[in-house]
């Protein structure tokens, strides 16, 4: 909260004009305070009229802003000067933190996500989260990440393997990498796990994302079990995750191969609102969500050579698929109606 601890108590007196305005209660805290913005502009004009150079005028005007706005502006200026850090994967923690309030809103208000079993996500060391997948925008991945950050006793940023096509798109590619998305390649997954990261993967892939509405929560084939090979090679536990709610946010009722070819997309979905309402049709429906993190499946005892064993790979892959499918049905019952 932006109320400074050292601020003197002013009792019933009206606060002096330089005092930062009190922030509204938490729900609206994310909104930019209009009063502060006007005050900033006024001070800026006074500074410029007084004949100071633009840079010190800006610096002076910032001084009068409330603490969080001040911090935000300082951060923006620092970033504009190139002073921010990205890791070798392009993950930008400051950026991820900055957009977190928006994700929190989607999580708490829009989808009213209920979470179970976050303790099953290891708090350190490598782990591979495997989940069911749906939707054009990977909201399920984003909400899984938000769940870990919000509910886990030792929160950590997960990395996600994202559909390759997304990395050919402007803005989407750079946003994805800044929040921890990487190209869905086994090399990336193994490298991340070797570094002890938490990695999320959707073995259904495009088939899952392009599922018809009538097939929701019926898991597709889990590819060739590549995710099991990855986990075996990296000796990392597998955490099956069941996400309920995500398969209703973009009810796909058809697809257009013509538009898919024209845009280069792997498939082009048609929902009741998209592409009918244009970009507005991309707004996800506010279904109610449940996310359950299931008990981790250890791969330690097999050793990395077991990745060559097709039989074992398929067996483990099927085991994970069954756990997720079962938990999906369970959580569907617990949740009740999607749009109650």
């Amino acid at each position: 909260m932006s109320v400074r601890p050292d601020e003197p108590s002013v009792g019933h007196q009206p606060p002096p004009s330089w005092a930062p305005p009190r922030t509204p209660p938490s729900g609206e805290a994310a909104l930019f305070p209009v009063g502060a913005a006007l005050g900033f502009l006024r001070r800026l004009r006074e500074g410029v009229e007084a004949g100071t150079d633009p840079v010190s005028a800006v610096a002076g005007a910032i001084g009068g802003l409330p603490a969080d706005a001040q911090e935000g502006l300082e951060r923006a200026m620092r970033r504009a000067a190139g002073d921010y850090s990205e890791d070798e994967w392009g993950f930008d923690e400051e950026f991820a933190d900055a957009i977190f309030p928006l994700l929190e809103f989607m999580y708490e208000r829009w989808w009213r996500v209920q979470v179970e079993g976050t303790v099953n996500v290891p708090s350190h060391g490598p782990a591979l989260m495997v989940a069911n997948h749906a939707g054009i925008v990977p909201w399920d991945a984003i909400m899984m990440g938000t769940a870990v950050l919000k509910e886990h006793p030792l929160p950590r940023y997960p990395r996600f393997l994202v559909l390759n096509w997304a990395f050919t798109l402007p803005y989407i590619s750079l946003t994805l990498r800044k929040v921890g998305g990487v190209v869905a390649s086994p090399y990336n997954a193994i490298r991340l796990l070797e570094r002890g990261e938490l990695v999320g993967v959707f073995p259904e892939g495009v088939k899952g994302a392009g599922k018809d509405f009538k097939d929701r929560y019926r898991l597709e084939r889990f590819g060739r079990g590549g995710f099991v090979e990855i986990a075996l090679r990296a000796r990392s536990p597998i955490v099956p995750v069941a996400v309920v709610g995500s398969e209703e946010i973009h009810p796909k009722i058809g697809e257009s191969s013509l538009l898919a070819r024209a845009t280069g997309a792997p498939y082009f979905p048609i929902t009741p609102t998209f592409p009918l309402l244009g970009p507005l049709g991309l707004v996800p429906l506010p279904s109610k969500w449940r996310i359950e993190f299931c008990e981790p499946i250890s791969t330690e005892e097999y050793g990395p050579e077991a990745a060559e064993d097709r039989g074992l790979v398929f067996e483990l892959s099927e085991q994970v698929r069954e756990v997720i499918q079962e938990k999906l049905y369970e959580n569907l019952v617990k949740r009740g109606r999607a749009f109650a």
């Binding site: 840079v55 200026m77 620092r78 970033r79 504009a80 000067a81 190139g82 002073d83 921010y84 850090s85 990205e86 890791d87 070798e88 994967w89 392009g90 390759n164 096509w165 990395f167 050919t168 798109l169 402007p170 803005y171 989407i172 590619s173 750079l174 990498r177 990487v182 190209v183 390649s185 090399y187 990336n188 490298r191």
Partner: protein, 332 residues
């Protein structure tokens, strides 16, 4: 062990001259020869300068006479210099390398060949693994002329390596170089008054500081390995971050318009450095895995990707006329 005898091609380039100078000071190195059509950039103490063109068959006579045990091939042209046609660049790269390998075949004294190649062979691919390891060279089609040149050189070199098992053939795949007093595509790009970028793309880039690039060559000469080795600084840097650190302003251009803008710019004489390879790099970026360099060659670069850019920027700030945003804003 008797002193090593080393021949360097492309000794007239910045890195070639610096390498000769560096080897001259080394007591392990008994003899240094430098081959080029251009004279070395600086006065060299004990390097024998062999004036010859790589494309000319005369080197098949010159090289055996020098009786060297190590050949360092440092004459792969990454971008056509002023007055050099793409055809000439192709000739120097492919025909030159082929001639050199032919000359090595005639020199029984040769024990190791080190080629300063390019990580450009991996290309810049949006769907590629975030770090290329040495085995991934043939994952994607070779899209540009330079890539095909490098691919051809690597093919010849591999064949040579198979036919001559007694010779250690080492292919160094260099990421673009950056650093003070370096003239590379990156430094030219950052030297533009306004830098063009692809709208909505902020690729991860990776460089090698020139100083580290030189030391990596020295380390490879001392400890040659069979096969390919990536040479790059640890870590990556985002394009936007690099541009901001350099205090430049960028002009984002929508991808479909970029080629025509680049062509227009080249005609106007502004964007001479935007080769097709570099354009792909600006859009999709590229990073390589350097575990082999660190663990097997035993060389750890001093500058990481960000530090290499910062070192370059430090030497450039004195040349600026207009102060950059970075100079105006106090950065903690």
């Amino acid at each position: 062990m008797a002193g090593r005898r080393v021949l360097i091609t492309g000794v007239g380039s910045y890195l070639g001259t610096e390498l000769a100078r560096r080897l001259e000071r080394d007591s392990e190195i008994e003899y240094v020869a430098g081959l080029d059509t251009r004279p070395p950039r600086a006065k060299l103490e004990r390097t024998e300068f062999l004036e010859a063109d790589l494309r000319n068959p005369v080197i098949t006579k010159l090289l055996p006479q020098a009786e060297v045990d190590t050949v360092v091939h440092n004459q792969i042209v990454r971008r056509p210099g002023p007055g050099m046609s793409p055809q000439a660049m192709h000739d120097i790269n492919v025909i030159g390398s082929l001639q050199l390998l032919g000359a090595c075949e005639r020199s029984p004294s040769v024990r190791a060949i080190v080629i300063r190649g390019s990580a450009g062979i991996y290309g810049s691919e949006p769907q590629a693994p975030q770090f290329f390891t040495e085995e991934m060279a043939r994952f994607y089609p070779l899209r540009t002329r330079f890539q095909r040149d490098v691919g051809e050189i690597e093919n010849y070199f591999e064949t040579y390596s198979r036919r001559h098992p007694q010779v250690t053939c080492m292919m160094l795949r260099y990421q673009p170089a950056i650093g003070p007093a370096t003239d590379s595509q990156v430094t030219r790009y950052l030297g533009l008054p306004v830098v063009p970028t692809y709208l909505g793309f902020d690729p991860r880039l990776q460089f090698i500081h020139v100083q580290d690039g030189l030391e990596a060559l020295v380390a490879s000469i001392k400890n040659p390995l069979r096969g390919a080795v990536n040479v790059a600084a640890p870590g990556t840097i985002g394009l936007t971050k690099m541009i901001r650190l350099a205090g430049k302003s960028s002009i984002p251009i929508a991808s479909p318009l970029f080629p025509s803008v680049a062509t227009l710019g080249r005609r106007a004489g502004v964007f001479s450095s935007l080769s097709p390879d570099f354009r792909r790099l600006l859009r999709y970026g590229r990073a390589v895995d350097t575990r082999r360099l660190v663990e097997e060659v035993g060389f750890r670069p001093r500058f990481d990707a960000v530090a290499a850019v910062e070192d370059y920027v430090r030497t450039q700030s004195s040349k600026r006329v207009v102060p950059s945003f970075r100079d105006l804003v106090p950065v903690r």
